[in-house]
């Protein structure tokens, strides 16, 4: 793939809540097709950083450049429309509806329509295909099941499918692995690898370091809202500061 400068460029982004400096002038760059991991102990400002990039919070200072375009402080839907799609830690689907209905909303978005050449197509069918892609067994009618009947793992997969449905260029996964069993995790990883192979750039905020390190090319470590380390997975934990930051907090 061609590499025209930084795909996403975050330069000293900052956000303050009242007295607390949640994110303190964090900067990093991201090349297209890269797989970046963001880790850090609880309350180190990972999610806030994501909210800043995706426009859910307005930064007090700093810039976010996407493909050279300044997207700082744009409304979230505008940013999503550019192809920066995120998932959420807390999955809040339509519990009372069949699973595939949860993909209708992303499939309804202007971006999808545009990319599909001005027409949506049969959303239900597309939704079911997408779910099958992320491992909803069609023959056992899982995509048709009422959402509330699905186990947690499926909901997380559904969240992933939601992002894929948007035909994203950059996907930001917020603690996708949290609360997954080993088996569920194992079934999740290939999907992500597939996304990477399709050239989708990915940022992943994780606590499950082992799995993250297996797929990430690069890892950023946040602590108290500041970036304390940036390195390739196998070296990143070597830094003293990171050890200190993680001391006492579990490393799975």
């Amino acid at each position: 793939m061609k590499d025209n400068g930084p795909f996403l460029q975050v330069s000293n982004l900052s956000k303050r809540f009242g007295g607390v400096q949640a994110v303190d002038s964090v900067s990093f760059e991201l090349r297209q097709g890269e797989m970046l991991g963001i880790i850090g102990p609880n309350g180190s400002g990972k999610t806030t950083l994501i909210n800043l990039i995706t426009g859910f919070y307005k930064p007090n200072a700093g810039k976010v450049l996407y493909q050279g375009k300044d997207i700082t402080g744009l409304m979230p839907y505008k940013i999503a429309d550019l192809g920066i799609v995120r998932t959420f830690q807390m999955v809040r689907p339509f519990y009372q509806l069949p699973a595939f209905k949860n993909l209708i909303i992303p499939l309804y978005s202007p971006r999808v329509k545009r990319l599909a050449g001005g027409k949506y197509g049969d959303r239900d069918a597309i939704a079911i295909d997408l779910l099958e892609e992320v491992g909803f067994e069609r023959e056992s009618l899982v995509p048709y099941k009422i959402t509330s009947a699905l186990p947690h793992g499926y909901l997380k997969k559904m969240e992933l499918a939601r992002s894929i449905a948007m035909r994203p260029e950059l996907v930001i996964l917020d603690e996708l692995f949290s609360g997954l069993s080993m088996a569920e995790l194992a079934s999740m990883l290939p999907i992500i690898e597939k996304m990477i192979s399709e050239g989708i750039t990915i940022i992943m905020v994780e606590h499950r370091l082992k799995e993250l390190f297996r797929i990430a090319n690069r890892v950023i470590v946040l602590n108290h809202g500041t970036k304390i380390a940036e390195d390739i997975p196998k070296d990143v934990m070597k830094s003293e500061e990171v050890k200190k930051a993680y001391l006492g907090t579990e490393v799975t």
Binding site: T54, F56, M75, P76, Y77, K78, A80, D81, V85, R86, F88, R92, P93, F94, L97, K101, I104, I105, P106, Y108, S109, P110, R111, R123, R162, M166
Partner: protein
């Protein structure tokens, strides 16, 4: 039937087989199942269109008022199902009422034109009025919607426009009570089925998405404020129709068109009937107005009784009457022993 006290029991609810079948398999197996599906709607339609035949003149008038409140209640319910708590149905009602009144008073247009224009124009004006506050949520939005009609009312009082406190009188009436009756009732039914259909389309799914989880709708690249605006338009158009209709039904429009009752009663109706299904809030409106009419007999204490009933309703059936009935219709219940 609740079994003897002492032993540990829990209530279990099971969908009636017929419901499961009629829901999933779309080829209905028997006439009976067809009936099961159609009965509620058929009964509703019959009830709505036949009862007027048995009512005296006054009964008809009451029914018309009921229809108006039913419309307002459904418009409130619709906003709720898009996650907007409105305390200002009076705004929609009043704007519609005044547009119709002004057009008829100054341009002498017949209700045939004023009502449709008021409906659409009212919808537009209200959407524009509320556009700046669409990003408010919960009680903050509610507060603004509560304030707006009161403010318009005061502005009319202060600036003496549109007949000031005295209002516009002697407007063109509708051609007759039958038309009034079936126009309003027909509208109620139309709106009911329209909204119920709308909310089940993909578009409606997006709307309910905004209510349940607007973050994920936003992150799907959908401009929720634009959608909220459309929802407000639909809701306020319904309210505006009600207002315009009342203007002509009573040949009068004035400041009272913005009064608090038009905001409170629909909410009460929605709450009593149960929100989210529109049928619920419609039912609620019918129950409440009927109640207040029955209570006319008792004179001054009427409002007291009325409120007492309301409180009891709410405490006994917080889910709303309609949801209760629906459950009874679709599920059967039994007490099963809890094994320890």
């Amino acid at each position: 039937m609740k079994p003897a006290i002492g032993m540990k029991y829990r209530k279990e609810r099971i969908d009636r087989g017929i419901k499961a079948r009629t829901e999933d398999i779309f080829a209905l197996l028997s006439f009976r199942e067809m009936l099961y599906l159609l009965a509620p709607r058929a009964i509703l339609l019959l009830a709505v269109f036949i009862t007027p035949l048995f009512l005296g003149m006054y009964g008809k008038k009451v029914l018309i008022n009921t229809a108006v409140f039913a419309l307002l209640a459904m418009s409130w319910d619709f906003l709720i199902s898009v996650g907007m708590v409105s305390l200002g149905q009076a705004l929609f009602f009043g704007v519609g009422a005044y547009i119709a009144g002004i057009l008829n008073d100054s341009l002498k247009w017949s209700p045939l034109f004023t009502i449709p224009i008021a409906t659409l124009g009212g919808g537009a004006i209200c959407s524009i009025l509320l556009a700046p506050v669409l990003r408010l949520r919960g009680v903050y939005f509610a507060m603004v919607t509560l304030a707006m009609p009161l403010m318009l009312m005061r502005i009319i009082e202060a600036t003496k426009i549109f007949g000031g406190t005295e209002g516009l009188h002697g407007l063109a009436p509708l051609p007759g009570v039958w038309l009034e009756l079936y126009l309003s009732l027909g509208m109620v039914i139309a709106v009911l089925f329209f909204l119920r259909r709308l909310i089940n389309t993909d578009y409606g799914l997006v709307l309910s998405g905004i209510r349940d989880n607007d973050r994920s709708v936003l992150s799907s690249g959908i401009n929720i404020y634009w959608y909220k605006m459309q929802a407000v338009f639909v809701a306020s158009a319904i309210g505006a129709f009600a207002g315009a209709f009342m203007t002509h039904a009573y040949m009068f429009v004035g400041m009272p068109a913005f009064e608090l009752d038009y905001s409170i009663l629909p909410i009460a109706a929605g709450v009593v009937g149960g929100t989210g299904t529109f049928a619920g809030s419609m039912l609620g409106a019918f129950i409440l107005v009927t109640l207040s009419e029955i209570l006319r007999g008792v004179g001054g204490v009427r409002i007291v009784f009325y409120s007492v009933f309301l409180v009891i309703f709410i405490v006994v059936l917080p889910e709303g009457i309609f949801h209760y009935l629906q459950r009874k219709y679709h599920q059967f219940e039994r007490w099963v022993k809890v094994e320890e």
